[in-house]
Symmetry: none
Subunit: 116 residues, 4 copies
């Protein structure tokens, strides 16, 4: 798996793993029901602790990105609507930004110029 950790950046390792895998799923690099590397093997690959990978996988399962089968491993969920969820999140971020701009008297048009 193409996961690169950045030990300098402040975000926790387990969170970096979560984000990376979510990204891989979002861009379609990992197909539904495709198995993820085992907790232990990924830990070795990333030179980190199995507990840390475990924490990342647990969070991914909680978010519905993957599912776990005891004794078998972890697999990508078939949830195709993940991109839709992401889109919604981005819309919310944009609207919050626009609201902030308004409060500061910054022109929306100017802010968005050339972004389309």
């Amino acid at each position: 798996m193409l996961i690169q950790l950045d030990y300098r950046d402040g975000t926790p390792i387990y969170e970096q793993i979560v984000n990376r895998i979510k990204k891989l799923v979002l861009i379609g690099a990992m197909a539904p029901d495709e198995p993820l590397p085992s907790v232990r093997s990924l830990a070795v690959e990333l030179a980190t602790n199995p507990n840390t990978v475990q924490k990342a996988y647990a969070e991914l399962e909680r978010q519905g990105v993957i599912y776990t089968v005891k004794g078998r491993g972890n697999f990508i969920s078939g949830d195709k609507s993940l991109v839709e969820v992401k889109k919604k999140e981005m819309r919310e971020q944009l609207m919050a930004l626009m609201k902030e701009a308004d409060e500061l008297g910054i022109d929306r048009k100017e802010l968005l110029k050339g972004l389309e």
Copy 2:
């Protein structure tokens, strides 16, 4: 000062203080060279630890939002370009968002629809 802390929201208290004061300055609620409440008095007002307020003020000084005069207190910087700095930050956020959208194959136009 009109600062309301939200203990439930996860962001550290010192960061909430920083954000609130930046906001107050940005919207013009605090004029250049206006004094801020002393560390101790604000700590009392917010029912928090003086260390926390101190940390917030240090961060604000680092960002150039306020300046400290030893023995006299803390004051709002006269930096009128603060809004400009903010605008630049917002542009960067927007460009990062657009880049992410591209990676996920989300149409920029669709994402920005109705925001102007």
Copy 3:
């Protein structure tokens, strides 16, 4: 046999097999003394590990739902009172629920409204 496993749902596979077979017996889909598929064939059918099916059968035997004849295979028990046992279990669950409701000050009548 009409057994469908759900790998996404968290319950262990051997337990799903146990539950499914108990259900089949309870609803009368499997008659007393009827033979069950062999461990190996069911394992193949379910694309799972023979150990898993073995564990499920052992548990079913422990519960008295099936019986094993060495060299011949596994068979449904003639225990017609299985439904009675189930009914008793359900009563116990209901009474535990009612007890919990009492502790929380939830009205039993309200909780049971429209269920008869």
Copy 4:
């Protein structure tokens, strides 16, 4: 705090802690914004590992039962609707039970007799 662990029972310790605290909140034994014992002190009290308590608290926060303030501690959420949520859960359990009874040809009235 009145928390008793049962090391014999199979449910994980962290989950027992979660359940106990939820119960205490549900029955009103702990008021909103009341502080919980610190991770370390509860670990000592229960003769368990701080990580285990930490895991329980993290889960409680995820469920909205408590909220965390870094450097200060954990506090009970003011969510009064917790009982409502619980009631809804119990209704769902009851309806599932009734459905199962129907499938087995068990009379609902008989099953519910004397429970009100």
